[in-house]
């Protein structure tokens, strides 16, 4: 009975986090990006250019921004497909500045733009003249479409810097105060990075903003892959040099971490989760986010604990205050903040599994909140079970080696 109680409490917490009513967010994507691309292809009129294949997507203004580019890369076609059926599909053509075209007169540009009111503004290019007519644009002699909503700007630079500082402090503390190395977690991080590098060609749609008119798409994809592969290699090397500590994590603590993450994800979803859920290799991407992110969050948690350590007994009170401040101000960083706080509270032995499960819960919760198509929801539920199994396996591997 005493063994059953924590399991039941953990299960109850999970169920409560999963079904607790939260404000329904309007940005929940009604369809997958591939379906949205099919809608756009049917709705946009023939443009007289080769579209190429779908290269990437991102969420913008309650819809999908999707980009097509032919292999020669001389132009890009953007489309915005709203989630609501009543809104029209917007599109935008962009061409490399050197692409030859016409030099239309002001009157001709107005005609091509469809008689839009407004004073046309010329834009001299290397081999043609473009015109801006209100929100319309004319490229050479080609109508370039309607304006597509821009994706939200990057925010939380301060948060990113603070997290980087904590990771840095954690790395230093693991060098100065070495841990008993958890070989299971070290291997897990290394293998996750390796598998993710192999799967990178399937993740290039996340690089939607990297595609540029005049740059061939394979070059943009290689650049994206190279940058991500370098970052993954750096993380796996860092995991060897600053390894996770070995320890036994309590079941109720892990269940609480998972439940807290799940609730946080449902409360503060980020649109990026829907973009990842649209990938064919979403399972690998989720694994990378959770396992590598969890290890990094544990490192940051250790840094936070060491920074608070000089306060002695007051450090717990300080941690509570800092934790409250982080939770209140984190916004879209709530999942990361909770993972760091969980790792800080869990200590060296429990930090990594606690942070991983928090992130796992957050990712699943955020996917539920941002995606409304079946494939993503089904896979995220499956991945939740796989994630719990992986964490248990890693803990058991450590347990077998002795804690």
């Amino acid at each position: 009975m005493r063994r059953f109680l924590p399991v039941a409490a953990g299960g109850l917490a999970l169920v409560a986090a999963a079904v607790a009513p939260v404000p329904i967010r309007p940005e929940s994507a009604a369809r997958s990006p591939r379906s949205a691309a099919a809608v756009a292809e049917a709705a946009i009129p023939p443009l007289g250019v080769v579209w190429g294949r779908v290269r990437g997507w991102e969420r913008a203004a309650d819809g999908w921004r999707i980009v097509w580019q032919p292999a020669h890369g001389a132009w890009l076609l953007w489309a915005w497909v709203p989630d609501g059926a009543s809104d029209a599909v917007g599109w935008w053509l962009d061409a490399a500045p050197w692409l030859p075209g016409a030099r239309l007169s002001r009157a001709a540009a107005l005609t091509v733009a469809g008689g839009v009111r407004g004073e046309p503004a010329p834009l001299e290019r290397l081999a043609r003249r473009d015109w801006l007519v209100g929100e319309e644009r004319v490229i050479g002699a080609l109508r370039a479409g309607r304006h597509v909503p821009a994706p939200p700007g990057e925010s939380g630079i301060l948060w990113g810097a603070a997290l980087a500082g904590l990771v840095f402090a954690g790395a230093i503390s693991r060098v100065l105060l070495p841990v008993v190395v958890s070989s299971g977690w070290r291997r897990l991080v290394g293998w996750t990075a390796a598998v993710t590098i192999v799967a990178l060609p399937l993740m290039t749609p996340l690089a939607a903003r990297r595609f540029e008119a005049g740059v061939r798409p394979w070059v943009s994809e290689v650049i994206f892959g190279t940058i991500v592969a370098m970052a993954l290699a750096a993380v796996s090397l860092a995991a060897v040099h600053y390894p996770a500590g070995r320890g036994r994590a309590a079941g109720p603590v892990l269940a609480a971490a998972l439940a807290a993450g799940l609730l946080a994800g449902r409360l503060q979803p980020v649109p990026w989760c829907a973009e990842v859920a649209g990938l064919e290799a979403r399972a690998v991407a989720w694994l990378a986010v959770v396992l590598l992110g969890g290890w990094l969050a544990a490192l940051a948690g250790e840094g936070l604990r060491q920074l608070l350590a000089p306060a002695g007994r007051a450090s717990r009170i300080l941690l509570a205050i800092v934790g409250a401040a982080m939770v209140v101000s984190a916004g879209p960083w709530l999942g990361a903040a909770l993972a760091i706080l969980g790792a800080t509270a869990g200590g060296r032995g429990q930090g990594t599994p606690v942070a991983c499960l928090t992130l796992w819960g957050w990712l699943v919760g955020a996917t539920w909140a941002t995606c409304a198509w079946t494939g993503a929801l089904r896979d995220s539920l499956l991945m939740l079970l796989v994630g719990v199994a992986i964490v248990i396996a890693a803990a058991l591997a450590d347990h077998r080696h002795g804690v």
């Binding site: 490399a96 030859p100 290397l126 790395a171 060098v175 740059v215 070059v219 750096a234």
Partner: protein, 461 residues
């Protein structure tokens, strides 16, 4: 290996000096004196005698030059870029008035004389056309290559002006390009002859596209360097915590030198600050990586000359195998000798310690020295390639050079690689600057330093 006597050292120093002379002497952009003579002659043909010493400036557009090279394979493309294409040219400006632009191969591209107060009697269009044709025959080298297109007439400042436009009829430029010539006359005095080349085909698109792609690829290299910088920061803190030997003063000195060279090369202030700091950090940390090969700068100059030869042969090889790589170097913004000095030494001081020192230092324990150095070479190959078809050809040539520098670093350490890279840069970049003693002195200064290092090298068993 063997004991080196003085005669061996003198021989080695002499050989590298001769090799450097063979690779770089007379390879700057010439033709300034010829341009001045042609400019005076052309102005005389317009009825104006230019007085005084002119200002002669090299100018150009390397994207246009590369597109012209791309339009015609082999030396014909290079000749077109430096001649009729007008991508590399001398601008001759006389203080008393009058200006001419002459291609570096000696083709007159444009000439303009000051408008006289009394330009002679106004002409009817038919008479103006005769004068245009006479002027064309007098000023342009191949008048038959031009076909009359149209003319226009207007009144300005009490005189009748005529403007005539001729189109290329001699197929001087390849299909997809357009060449036109414009002449103006006031009253009965020819004022200007102007020559233009318009790229309308895909050649310029290929070049501009490759330039944009390489710019993006460089970004990936910079991200790699940023990741490495974070690793160095952590290594620095560890080294301080464990009281490992650091050479802070040397690091600051080399970092300041790198920033100074970057300033001469016209790099932006933020680049100077970041590169200076990173270089200072690497140089300060070098002693903590005791497994790195010891620096022997004396090996640098001969290795740099060998690598310069590879860099100069690279485009020929690519073109020989059916690809395309430009032989005209990228034209710098500033053409002063100081800029050449900075352009040669800045990459050497900023990149070599990082790629040949920090990379093997940080990654060596995991990948081994060679593995880490080759990873550094792959990253370094992204920084300076020229556009090519296929794109990987130029990156391949850069990679060969980087692997050469890896070999130098294995034998002669980071110091050897720095001197080799500076020597390589001095010889290769020299080609983009005007011919002249000051630029030659800067280019051969590194070689002379290398020769001196060989002569002063301490005898070791």
């Amino acid at each position: 290996m063997f004991r080196q006597g003085w005669w061996t050292r003198w021989l080695a120093a002499g050989v590298i000096a001769l090799a450097a002379v063979a690779l770089a002497l007379g390879r700057g952009v010439g033709g300034a004196a010829r341009a001045e003579t042609l400019a005076r002659g052309a102005l005389r043909q317009l009825g104006y005698v230019a007085a005084g010493d002119p200002t002669v400036q090299l100018e150009g557009n390397h994207a246009l030059a590369w597109a012209l090279e791309r339009s015609r394979p082999g030396p014909a493309g290079t000749d077109l870029a430096q001649g009729e294409g007008g991508a590399l040219r001398w601008r001759v400006t006389f203080a008393g008035g009058g200006e001419a632009v002459v291609a570096v191969d000696g083709v007159l591209l444009s000439v303009r004389r000051p408008a006289p107060t009394n330009p002679g009697p106004d002409l009817y269009p038919t008479a103006a056309k005769e004068l245009f044709d006479r002027t064309l025959a007098a000023v342009v080298q191949q008048p038959s290559a031009w076909r009359w297109e149209h003319s226009q007439t207007w009144r300005e400042a009490g005189h009748t002006w005529h403007r005539a436009r001729y189109l290329d009829a001699g197929n001087i430029v390849p299909s997809g390009w357009r060449r036109e010539l414009e002449m103006e006359l006031a009253g009965s005095t020819p004022i200007t002859v102007r020559h233009r080349v318009h790229p309308l085909g895909t050649d310029l698109g290929v070049v501009m596209g490759r330039i944009a792609e390489l710019k993006e690829l460089r970004l990936a290299g910079l991200v790699g360097v940023a990741i490495l910088a974070v690793g160095m920061l952590l290594a620095g803190v560890e080294a301080m915590a464990y009281h490992e030997p650091l050479r802070v003063a040397r690091g600051v000195l080399v970092g300041a030198l790198a920033a100074g060279c970057g300033w001469l090369a016209g790099e932006p202030a933020e680049v100077l600050a970041v590169q200076g700091l990173v270089t200072a950090g690497v140089v300060a940390l070098l002693p903590t990586w005791a497994f790195l090969p010891r620096s022997r700068p004396a090996w640098g100059a001969p290795a740099g000359i060998a690598l310069a030869a590879i860099a100069l042969v690279g485009p020929m090889l690519v073109n020989g195998f059916g690809g395309w790589m430009p032989s005209t170097p990228a034209l710098p913004d500033d053409l002063s000798p100081a800029h050449l000095l900075g352009a040669a030494w800045f990459p050497a001081l900023a990149e070599e310690p990082l790629l040949r020192g920090a990379f093997p230092g940080l990654l060596g324990p995991v990948l081994g020295w060679w593995g880490a150095a080759i990873a550094g070479a792959c990253l370094g190959a992204l920084f300076h390639p020229l556009p090519s078809v296929p794109l990987v050809a130029a990156i391949g040539v850069e990679l060969v050079i980087q692997l050469g520098l890896v070999a130098v670093a294995r034998v002669a350490g980071v110091g050897g690689a720095v001197v080799a890279r500076a020597t390589l840069g001095s010889i290769v970049y020299r080609l983009a600057y005007p011919a002249g003693v000051a630029w030659d002195a800067v280019a051969f200064g590194v070689v002379a330093l290398g020769a001196l290092l060989i002569l002063l090298r301490r005898e070791r068993e």
